[in-house]
Symmetry: C2
Amino acid sequence: MDGRNIAACSYVETEGKSLKAINPATGLTLEGEFFKANESDIEDALHAANQAFYEYRNLNKDQKAAFLNAIADEITTIGEVLVNRASAESALPLGRLQGELGRTTGQLRLFANLVAEGSWVDAIIDTALPERQPLPKPDIRRMLVPIGPVVVFGASNFPLAFSVAGGDTASALAAGCPVIVKAHPAHYGTSALVAAAIIKAIEKTGVPKGIFSMLYDDAYAVGAALVQHPLTKAVAFTGSFKGGMALINLAQQRKQPIPVFAEMGSINPIVFLPQALANQAEELAKKYAASVTLGAGQFCTNPGLLLAVKSPALENFKNYLQEAIAVVPPATMLTGGIADNFAKLSAQIIDEAGVEVIAVSKLINNDLKNQSQAKIAQVSANDFIANPKLREEIFGPYSLLVVADDMEELEKTIDVLEGQLTVTLMAEKQELQHYQGLINKLSDKTGRIILNGVPTGVEVCAAMQHGGPFPASSDSRFTSVGSTAINRFVRPLAYQDWEQELLPDELKDGNPLGIYRTVNQKTTKSHE
Amino acid sequence: MDGRNIAACSYVETEGKSLKAINPATGLTLEGEFFKANESDIEDALHAANQAFYEYRNLNKDQKAAFLNAIADEITTIGEVLVNRASAESALPLGRLQGELGRTTGQLRLFANLVAEGSWVDAIIDTALPERQPLPKPDIRRMLVPIGPVVVFGASNFPLAFSVAGGDTASALAAGCPVIVKAHPAHYGTSALVAAAIIKAIEKTGVPKGIFSMLYDDAYAVGAALVQHPLTKAVAFTGSFKGGMALINLAQQRKQPIPVFAEMGSINPIVFLPQALANQAEELAKKYAASVTLGAGQFCTNPGLLLAVKSPALENFKNYLQEAIAVVPPATMLTGGIADNFAKLSAQIIDEAGVEVIAVSKLINNDLKNQSQAKIAQVSANDFIANPKLREEIFGPYSLLVVADDMEELEKTIDVLEGQLTVTLMAEKQELQHYQGLINKLSDKTGRIILNGVPTGVEVCAAMQHGGPFPASSDSRFTSVGSTAINRFVRPLAYQDWEQELLPDELKDGNPLGIYRTVNQKTTKSHE
């Protein structure tokens, strides 16, 4: 494991602070030495990325696809070592990380397929009408083109799938953009291993080395400098609201502002309709207890809010929930900081007016550090509406049950909610039709609306939308999961009356790539 | 002509400042009284828009298309009155405004066709795999949905095509969003006439009245309040860099930031390659003189910068250019403010180091006010690179010729340019292949790259991209002209395991609307 900073696929000697990885379950230092990047590393990374950009974007689509598949292959090769190290650094169970490894390589292959198929560039062609009156119509052809170097911030809670070779990196590379990764301080070693796999894939497939760099830091200076660098063209970040907003502000203050795709806080409300509660109290309680405590609640889609109208069925549900939560085993959280913060916030919440704890799991003294205790609190809709603090995310196995007097009050509760990544409706089929107004309201608050499921477990596919109205994400028009995530790193470029030979293949007459295009307002794969 | 403010299609009595329209050519007051909107008008407009949103967005696509066509019909009906009033308010010639009228109704019909066809919602369906291991795959279906009330600012230089029923309004209404127009102070009467046409179309087609309001102001307070209103979800603006940035800053400081699609300053460089200059000096000089002075240079795509390497052919070109500019007749500019600003800035430019005027048109004393004098200045590449002030837009019939010693210096000149709406390359076919590096650089700076044409005359079609890297527009990923302008006012929404009957028709099994969709990664119109 080589813990040096990486500029343009080359390991560089950085003088300065030495960094160590910590096992959050034991507090002990893990193998490997890492180095806080300095200004010259940042300059080298960005200049190399900028220099490699034209060559990389002009590679044909099969070369780019082969490269993405090669990264997946290299990661698969080191799978066992990688999963073990990630588990030691994050305290996440091996099974979970094996799943995340599959998701990471699956994502890379998904983007490889997308790029190889080629229609994602949204080629639109309007041919000339030289005889048109009063003015001739020019020939205009438009496609999506990559924007340039992208800075990717590794996320704490997905050391593989939202990190060095995660969805942000995969979609940026697929788009044709060079990537500079800022490794997350909670998993230096995992980052180093994945970066080495990417370097191997670059060497094997011969793509330009400048398209990949990775830098370490245990604080904020390197990330801030990367966002402020004039050659950076976009930023991808998954993390806290505070962290995301800090990057957004830096990006907006630049001479040339750039987009920051920040996937930030969300409390992912679950609305229980009356019949569903009446018919399935036990099943729903178990389902929900499992979802809120999965992975110690450290998911951006963790259901942090439960909305229901008071009823005997709700009391029944609460009893089952209490039982289910009581037996949830404690789990070490990702970092000491996250565990401390969760302990503090989930304890302080009962100081808020009207809040009481209705379910709690046991802490077992097993010598492991940074353990979480799952907790469900309850509050009236009235108190919830009056107190914005109750709408803030508490990252961890925590959820707040809001009890309304009637459906009207429940809808008012929804009115005060901010934007969300997900909203879930638990309902019996026959009651659904009576709640179209409620469904409209819920749809307006979210990027994904789920019926009778749980928000955790974000499927990686073309139809996924993982990004909702602010503050769930910085830009609700884009997703950070699924194949349309590639749209974050491209912009349309129109060619007017351009020479055939100089046009990109995607826009040439005869459709040499055989992709779907919109030609004179018709969707077609035709070679004519 | 009813000059009262309009909230939800109703004319409202506003107590407060009375406003008058001015003919910029005569300085005389035109018929009609208008009223500065007040806070209650703003509240009424936004609340009506928000209330009408669900009903409007849920209309079927044919109803929305019929409504857009009805606006075009109503505008066509009042065509002569409208063009006469617009000419009196803007000093633009009748012929130009007749063309703009056709463009405006054409735009509305283009969006009507887009909406009626229906595939623009980008429906993506990934069906369930309940048996998948280790976890079942849910059913996920995604489409673009409207974001809510949009504030549209009328633009000074297109009283019809970028104003009350212009491209921004047409694309927002097509997307399913209510629109609140802030009428431009330079054409109150034109705005009132078009607004009346929209109201008629709403009444005839029975769409909800809350989707259209229009407010007047002679300064900035109403516009600022509209951008800051919590119910506003997006803003569309075409105008100056300063004006656009003021709105962007207001939008970013909101509790919930919203996108401002601002199409701002651009100097639209034209690069002349050596052989083109050698072979076509006279033709190019005439073409360019016509483009820079068209409509008194009051186009966002006006070519404000000309780049060439010094040569005898360039001297020849300059002579022809001087002749062509000398005979350009003066024209009244859109407003007194614009005319004063142009006179001041185009006079001050010769105070900058190394700048000299090489061509100028005559001013004729014909008693018309606010006349422009076309001017071409020249500077060395060296001086241009050293002086950022020379890269600022001077709105009007002005252009700066930058003369480089060689192609290398010309490329350095391109390096210092900011983002542009258009870049044009004048070249002979056989020399093009030697300049791929130059073409790459030019592509990076612009939203549209033109070969051997002029940037003025922005074709309204599906392939058009009118929007470039900052500061040409606030977001290079979107266009304000052409059918993909609709993408500014929508966001993806994913439905997970949703009931068939409650899904939008676009996402239902059997494809009842017969639109193109991506189903399990295949593009298809199939009804299966």
